[in-house]
Symmetry: C4
Subunit: 208 residues, 4 copies
C-alpha cells in the first residue's frame, strides 16, 4: 500500500470519521458500517467491529460484486446495500451508515408516510447542490428487514424514486448517507443529524 | 500477577470501560459497580470509589461466596447481586451496573408492569443471540430495596423467570447487564442504553 | 506554599473540579464560583474568570470576614454566601456553585413551593448520611436577588430551616452544594445534578 | 506577521473558539463563520471550511468594504453581515456566528413576534452591561434569506432598532453575537446558548 494511494488516504479519513461517530454515540454496540470506493475497488468495514477503535485493519477490500479481494474477517452484512448505493450513485466515493437516537425516532415518526420531509432550515445548505433553506429534502424510509436481498432491492428502488435525496433511512434502524469524498459524506451526515434532531424536537415540543 | 493472566487482562478492560461509563455520565457520584470472573475467581470494585479514575487497585478479589481473597478496601455492597448473577448465568465473564438518566426513567415508567418491553429496533441485534429487530426484549424490573438479601433473591428469581433477558433493572436505581467478556457486556450496555433513550423519548414525545 | 499544605492540595482538586464543571457546561460564560476552607483560611475564585481554564492563580485567600489576605483580583461577588455557608456548616471544607440547565429549570418549577422535594431514587445515597432511596431530600430555593446582603441572610435562614439539606438553590440562578472535602462536594454535585435532570424529565414527560 | 501583533493574537483565540464550537456541535457541516477586527483590518473565515480543524490559514484579511487584502480562498458568503455589524457596533472586536439546535428552535418559536424575549435568569449577567437577572433581553429575529444584500440591510436595521441587544438571530438559521474581544464574544455565546436551551425547555415542558 503506497502512502499516496488515494484509496488508502480515503481509508484513513474513513477510520477517523468512524471513531468520531462513535464518540458522538452514533454507532453504539458495534453497529454501523462504513466504506470508501475508488473506481472498482471498495473498502468496507468488517462485520462486528467496535467502531470506536476502527483502524485500517478493520477494512476489507471487496469488488463491485461484493467478493472479498483482500483483508481478514467477513465483510459487513450490509455490504450489499453499499454496493447498490455505489451502483445508483456513480460519483459517490464514501458511504456512512449510523444508528442515532434522532434518526431512529424520525424514521419511526414518518414511517407510514414513507419519507421524511424537511424544509426551511439554513442547514439544508450543508447538502450537495442545495443553495437555499427553501429546499424541500425528501428522504425515503425503507421498511426494516433482515432479508438483505429485499433491503438491497428497496435501496435501489428508493434511490431511483428519490433521485435528489441525500440519504436513505431504514425505519427504526438507521441512516445511509454518502458523498464524493469522506469529507462530503461526513458533511452530509452532520447536516442531516442536526436537521433530524431539530425537526423531531419541533414536532414533539408542542409549542413550536 | 503475570501480565498474560486472562483475568488481569479482563480487569484492565473493565477499568477502561468503567472510566468510559463515567465520562458518559452513567456512574455519577461514585455510583455503579463492575466485576469480571474467571472460573471461581471474581474481581469486583471496592465500595465508594470514583469510577472516573478506577484502576486495578480499585478491584478486590472475592470467591464465589463473596469472601475477600485479595486487595484492599471493602467489596461493593452489591457484590451479592454479582454473585447471584454469575451463579444464574454460568457463561457470564463480566458484569456492569450503571445508573443513567434513561434507565432510571424507563424503570420508573414500567415499574407497575414489572418489566420493560422493547421491540422493533435494529439495535436489539446488539444483544447476544438476537438476530432480528422483531425480537421482543423483556427486561425484568426489581423493586428497589436496601435489603441486599432481598434484592439478591429478587435477582435470582428474575433471572429464572426471564431466561432470555439481557439485563435486569432495579426501579429508579439502575441496570445490571453482563456478557461472556467485558467487550460483550459493554456492547450490551451500549445497546440497552440507546434503546432506553429512544423508547422513553418515543413514549413521552406524544407524536410518535 | 509548601507542596504538602493540605489547603494547597485542596486548591488543586478544586481547580480540577472547576475545569470539569466547565466541560459539562455547568459554569458557562464565567459563571459559578468555588472555594475551599481549612480552619480560618478560605481560598475562593476571583471574580469574572473563565472556569474552563481555572488555575491556582485564579484563587484568592480571604479570612472568615471576607477580607482579602493574599492573591490578585477581586473575590467573587458571592463570597459572602460562601462565608455564610461555612459558618452554618462547620465541617464543610469545599463549596461548589454552578449554573446548569436542569438546576435552573427545577428551581423555577418549584419556586412557589419554596423547596425542591426529591425522593425514591437510589442516587440519593450519593449524599452524605443518606442510606436509602426512601430518603426525602428537601432543598430550599431562595428567591434570586442582586442584593448580596439579602441573599446571604436568606442563605443563613435556609440552612437553619433545612438542617439536613445537601444544597441550596437560588431560583433561576444556580445551586450551592458543599462537602467536607472537594471530593465530597463534587460527589454531592454529581448526585444532585443527576437527580434534577431525572426529576424534571419525569415531571415534564407526561407519561411517567 | 509579528507574534505580538494584537490581531494575530486575536486570530489564534478565534481559531480555538471555532474548534470548541465545533466540539459542542454548534457549527456542523462546515456551517458558521467567525471574524476578528482591529481598526480597519478584519480577518474572517474562508468559505466552506470545516470549523473543527480551523487554523490561521483558514482566515482571510478583508478591508471594511469586504475586499480581500490577504489570504487564500473566498471570504465567507456572510462577510457582508460581519461588516454591517462592525459598522453598527464600533467597539466590537470579534463576531461569532453559529447554528445550534436551540437557537434554531427558539428563532422558529418566536419568528412571528420578531424577537426573542428572555428575562429572569441569572445567566443574563453574562452579557455586557447587564447587572441583574431582572434584565429583559430582546433579541431581534431576521427572516432568513439567500439574498445577502437584503440580510445585510435587515441586520443593520435590527441593530438600529434594538440598540441594547447582544445578538441577532436569523430564523431557523443561527445566531450572530459579538464582543469587544474574542473572550467577550465567546462569553456572550455561552450565555445566550444556555439561555436559549433553558427557555425553550421551559416553553415546551408543559409543567413549568
Amino acid at each position: 500500500m503506497p502512502e499516496n494511494d488515494p484509496l488508502e488516504i480515503a481509508a484513513e479519513a474513513l477510520c477517523t470519521t468512524a471513531c468520531w461517530c462513535y464518540a458522538q454515540g452514533w454507532v453504539p454496540a458495534t453497529s454501523g458500517n462504513f466504506s470508501v470506493r475508488l473506481g472498482s475497488r471498495i473498502l468496507v468495514t468488517a462485520s462486528g467491529l467496535d467502531k470506536g477503535t476502527l483502524t485500517r485493519e478493520g477494512l476489507l477490500e471487496v469488488d463491485l460484486d461484493g467478493r472479498k479481494v483482500a483483508g481478514s474477517g467477513r465483510p459487513s452484512a450490509e455490504t450489499g446495500l453499499h454496493l447498490a448505493l455505489y451502483r445508483a450513485r456513480p460519483t459517490a466515493g464514501a458511504i456512512l451508515h449510523v444508528h442515532t437516537v434522532w434518526n431512529t425516532l424520525i424514521s419511526a415518526h414518518h414511517a407510514a408516510l414513507g419519507h421524511v420531509p424537511i424544509e426551511g432550515y439554513e442547514l439544508l445548505k450543508g447538502l450537495d447542490g442545495v443553495g437555499t433553506h427553501e429546499h424541500l429534502e425528501q428522504m425515503p424510509i425503507l421498511e426494516n428487514s433482515q432479508d438483505y436481498a429485499q433491503l438491497t432491492a428497496g435501496m435501489t428502488a428508493a434511490l431511483d424514486k428519490f433521485p435528489r435525496a441525500h440519504g436513505v433511512l431504514l425505519a427504526r434502524h438507521g441512516l445511509y448517507t454518502w458523498g464524493d469524498s469522506v469529507a462530503d459524506a461526513r458533511r452530509h451526515l452532520e447536516a442531516l443529524e442536526f436537521l433530524f434532531e431539530v425537526e423531531m424536537r419541533r414536532l414533539t415540543g408542542g409549542h413550536s
